[in-house]
Each structure stands twice: as C-alpha cells, then as structure tokens.
C-alpha cells in the first residue's frame, strides 16, 4: 500500500499540511519522499534494516500471542490426538488413529451429536422469531426502542446468571409450572429431570438467550435497505407481506444464510447453558461438555484431543461451505 504513497506524497503534502494546526517545521521533501518503507533510495543499510523491522515491531505482540495461544495449542491438539496421553505422564505413547476410531465407534461419545440436533432445531425457531420482530420493528412502531432493548438484553446477560434464572423457572412447582397451571395444565413434566424433555428445555433457554443477537443483526441488515424501495412499493399498493417477500427477504438473504450456517457450527459447540444448568446430566451432555470432561475429569487427554480435532474439522468444513455459498460481497439490491 505504501508503495503508492511516496509518489503521491509531495503533491498532497502542502494541502494537507495547511489543514491541521500542526505547526512543526517542514524538514525538506526528500525525507518525505523516502519515508515509505518500500522506498529504496540510497539509505544506509542500518536504516533500511530498521525500516524493514518496523512493521514487525508493531506486530510482534499480537502475532506472538496469536502463535502462542491459537496455533501452538491447535498443533498440539493434533499431536495429542494420536497419543494415549493422560495429561500428566512425561511420556506420550503414539497410538495412531485409535482415538479417532473410538470417537466414531463409542456410542457414548457419538450419541452427543444427537444432542446438537435439539439446538439446531431451536436455532430455526430463534431465527424465525428474530426475523419476525426485526421486520415489524423496522417499520414505525410505538416504543420501538423500548422493545428493541428488551428483545436484545438477554444476549448481554452473564451465562451463569441465565442458567440460574432458568433453573429457577424450570423448578418443579416453579414459575413455568405455575403459569401452565393457570391454563389448566396441572401435571407438568420434570423439565430438567426427564431425559426426554431436558434437551428441549435447555434449547429453549438457548433461544431465550440468543434471539437478541439474531434480532440485532437482522435489524441492521433491514435498515441498510434503501428506504425508497418501500416507498415505491407502497405507491404500487404492495402490502406489508408483499413488501417483506419482495424487498426485505431478498435484501437480507445473505445474512439469513450466514446465520443458518453459523447455527450449525453453533449447535455443535453448545456448551455453557447445559454445563451450568445440568452439568450434562440426564443425557444433556453436548460434544464440548463430553470433550472437556474426557480431558479434565477422566484424564484422557489423547481421546479428548481427538474429539476436539473432529469438532474443529466439522466447524472448518461448515465455514468453508459458508464461504463458498456466501462469498464476502455486498448484496446487490438494484
């Protein structure tokens, strides 16, 4: 980028200099022309080296931490996954693909993938609700910023707090049961104690918690649609419903598609709500809970690493599909 700047600098410089109130002395244009790092013109070797090092000095902190806390663990994950390491032993025995074979054949491990399906189903509900409210709140509505705030706020609440709020709600004889009793449903199930229901309860909590994020993203996308389009449609006598299908939906198709694919990755890596609320009991353990318990409670770091690698590969695949289907470009509305 700065390759282009040295040539442009002298021409721009006077105009820019007069603009800010900086009153430092002009030290000569030669330096300015040579200022870009890419300019090779006759500087001593030491200076050139310093020039070449400068960007790395600025980058060192961020790149250092990136390599240390993202890439180093990720590489180690692959290495641990082909060993039988327990996390403490000094020697790690190489076991080939045994751990991977176990991930795919042990029904205890593989079953947790089914749990993801509850959250995946719930994310459809979440998106539908978010889309509905984003649409109606993008047209003039009384108290709209009040409702926006209320819909969005749960997303900001601490996960442990959300967990407790819903533990309280789902208690036998608790809030939910009382509300149901008003409607004549006197014999409610054990919301968190019944293995057939627990995942629906937890997925419902997840909908409550995350709808606000989808809502805000959809709302932002809808508001970026040029307003004249609605006005033109209104003049043509289009109903709100027609406006939704003809203008809003195509206008935000990309972010909806993106949300669907993020929902896949998201439902595979669900962790906080079930961990806090049930600890994975009653068949509510998700893939991540199972992985972390395998690593830290059962000290099978090798096996847990293989599980993490499997999840990582699935997420990478999903992201790759997302990039292929929804390349990074602006939506064309014309």
């Amino acid at each position: 980028m700065s390759l282009a700047t040295p040539g442009a600098a002298p021409a721009d410089a006077p105009a820019v200099l007069s603009a800010p109130a900086r009153s430092r002395r002009l030290r000569g244009t030669r330096r300015a022309a040579a200022g870009g790092t890419a300019a090779p013109g006759g500087r001593p070797a030491g200076r050139r080296l310093a020039g070449r090092l400068t960007p790395w000095l600025f980058l060192s902190g961020a790149v250092g931490l990136l390599l240390l806390f993202t890439y180093w663990p990720a590489l180690n994950l692959f290495w641990y996954s082909v060993t039988d390491w327990d996390g403490i032993d000094l020697t790690k025995e190489f076991v080939g693909l045994d751990n991977y074979a176990q991930v795919f054949t042990d029904p205890r491990i593989f079953n947790v993938f089914w749990v993801s399906l509850y959250y995946f189903a719930a994310s459809f509900a979440q998106m539908a609700i978010a889309l509905y409210f984003a649409t109606i709140l993008s047209f003039s509505t009384r108290l709209s910023s009040f409702f926006r705030g209320i819909l969005f706020f749960p997303y900001l609440i601490n996960g442990v707090a959300v967990g407790f709020v819903f533990l309280y709600l789902f208690q036998p004889g608790g809030t939910l049961d009382t509300v149901l009793a008003w409607f004549g449903l006197a014999d409610p199930p054990q919301w968190l104690g019944n293995p057939d229901i627990v995942n629906w309860s937890l997925a419902g909590t997840s909908v409550w918690r995350y709808t606000g994020l989808n809502f805000v993203l959809f709302l932002g996308a809808i508001q970026s649609i040029p307003h004249e389009l609605y006005e033109a449609a209104e003049l043509d006598g289009a109903s709100r419903w027609q406006q939704f299908w003809a203008i809003i939906f195509p206008g935000i198709r990309r972010i909806i598609g993106l949300s669907f694919i993020l929902a896949i990755a998201g439902s595979l890596s669900v962790f906080e709500i079930p961990f806090i609320m049930t600890g994975g009991a009653n068949g509510s353990a998700t893939f991540v809970i199972q992985t972390l318990q395998t690593a830290f409670n059962f000290r099978q770091v090798g096996l847990a690493s293989a599980m993490a690698v499997v999840l990582l590969i699935i997420v990478l695949l999903v992201t790759w599909i997302q990039r292929a289907l929804f390349p990074d470009e602006k939506v064309d509305l014309t």
């Binding site: 600098a9 180093w72 707090a161 309280y168 993203l217 709100r240 962790f271 991540v288 992985t291």
Partner: protein, 293 residues
Amino acid sequence: MTVAVAPRRRHAPSGRTLGERLRSTSATTAKYASLVLAAVVTLLPLSVLLFASLKTAPEYAQSGPFDLPQNWLNFDNFVTAFTSGKMLEGFVNTGIVLAVSLVGTVFLGTMAAYALDRFAFRGKKLVMVLFLIATLIPGVTSQVATFQLINGLGLYDTKAALILLFMGTDIIAIYLFIQFMASIPISLDEAAMIDGANRWTIYWRVVLPLLKPAIATVVIIKGIAIYNEFYAAFLYLPSEGFISTSLFRFKGPFGAQWEVIAAGTIVVIIPTLLAFLLLQRWIYRGLTAGAVK
C-alpha cells in the same frame, strides 16, 4: 370480516378503505400483542427472580413465584449473597482482569492494525491469513491443549493466565481496527512524516487518537464478553472467584436457598443492565460490526 364489508362496496368506493382499515387495525393489534408477549417472555423470568430475592426465607417457602415480596426493601439476601458468596472478591478479580486485558487488547490490536494497514512488507499476507484462520478455531475446543500450555508456563491458577488468554484470542478486535484504520486518510501520516515524526510518533499521536471510536467499540464489546466469561475462569482460576465462577459456586453452599441465589444473580445482572442503558447505541453498533465479520 369480508362478509360485513361486501355490501358496502356496492354503494361507494370508500367501502374498500373500511376493509383495509379493519385489516390494518387487526394487524396492528397483532403486532403490539406479539411485542407485548415477547416483552413478557423476556422480563417474566427476570422479574420472578427479583421477587424471590426480596423475600425472607420463611416467606419464600410459603409463597408462590408470582407472589410479590412483603417488603420491597428487604435487602438481607443481597447482603448474604455479597458477603458469604464472596462476590466482592469476584468483582475485584473481574475488574483487574478486565482492565489489564482491555488495555492490552487495545494496544496490541491497534499496533497490529497499524502495521498491517500502513506498511508493505514481506510476510504481510501470511500474517493476514494467520489471523483469518484463527477466527475459525472455536476457543472452547482447543482448551484441551491450551490448558497444557498454561500449565507448562506455570500460569495455572493465576490471573495472568486469563489476561493472556483474553488478549491473545481477540482477533475480531484486530479486524475492527484494520477496517477502521483503512478509513483514516494516509495523507495524515504523510503530513506528520514531513514534520519529522517517526513511525511510533505517528502511531501514538496521529493514529491512536483517530481510532478512538473503534477503541470505544472494542472496549465495550470485549468488556461485556470478559465480564460474562465463564469457562476460562472456571478452568484457569479455580481458587479465586471471577464474577461468573463466584455465582456458579452458589450452587453448592446455598443449594436450595433460592432467595440468596436469586439475589446473587440479580447482583451480577445489574452492572450489565446499567452498561446497556448507558451505552445502548454503541453496543448495537459494535455487535453488528463484530459479528458479521
């Protein structure tokens, strides 16, 4: 509805507007009904918890979840939660980690963005790709290996572990900074350079002040994320309380004392509520900027 409208249509063209008006009134009613329903679904679970937190133990045992507390100013549970639950320790630790990680993230992030946006150098593409790929790795999965690293560095059970992790894993912040930096005209840098400023001075005196809006966004979004972080604190700082883990511990000693647990939960939610009310607009903006990336 249509049956009632049909006869009028014959008389005058204005009959159509009645039908339309009827339809739009019912649409409006449905719209507001759904909004009110959503507000109830959102607020109800929180309000019943507030009710519970203001009840005394015997009162809680005897009353249903929707019974209002007898004394709205009974803060005993809050005192119990705060002292026995060691919430102060949680707030202090969270505050320290929050402050240090935010300062670190802002400096490392803006410096990296400055280098990536303003310099042409060998390896730049590679660094960009490394940052890009890193966004795809879900943090919670690599904890299995990250834990070994933290342990190997001798940082297990220290606040430094959390600070380093929060600083080291924030790639979204760097993206926001790069995006924002691209909108700052390069001619400003050049003008400063003509004035004899070196790169560091330009970063410090020109770029950093101009990045203020992006920094505010990152501080808010990241601040909320750190305040809400649970697992990293749970795993790496077991012997000290972080605000989430302090609250999580309530599950043990307070077991069925829901009035105390409720008070603790409210205590954790209040700062979020205040931050939200004060910073609404920036929070929305930051999230849309950060999440779509």
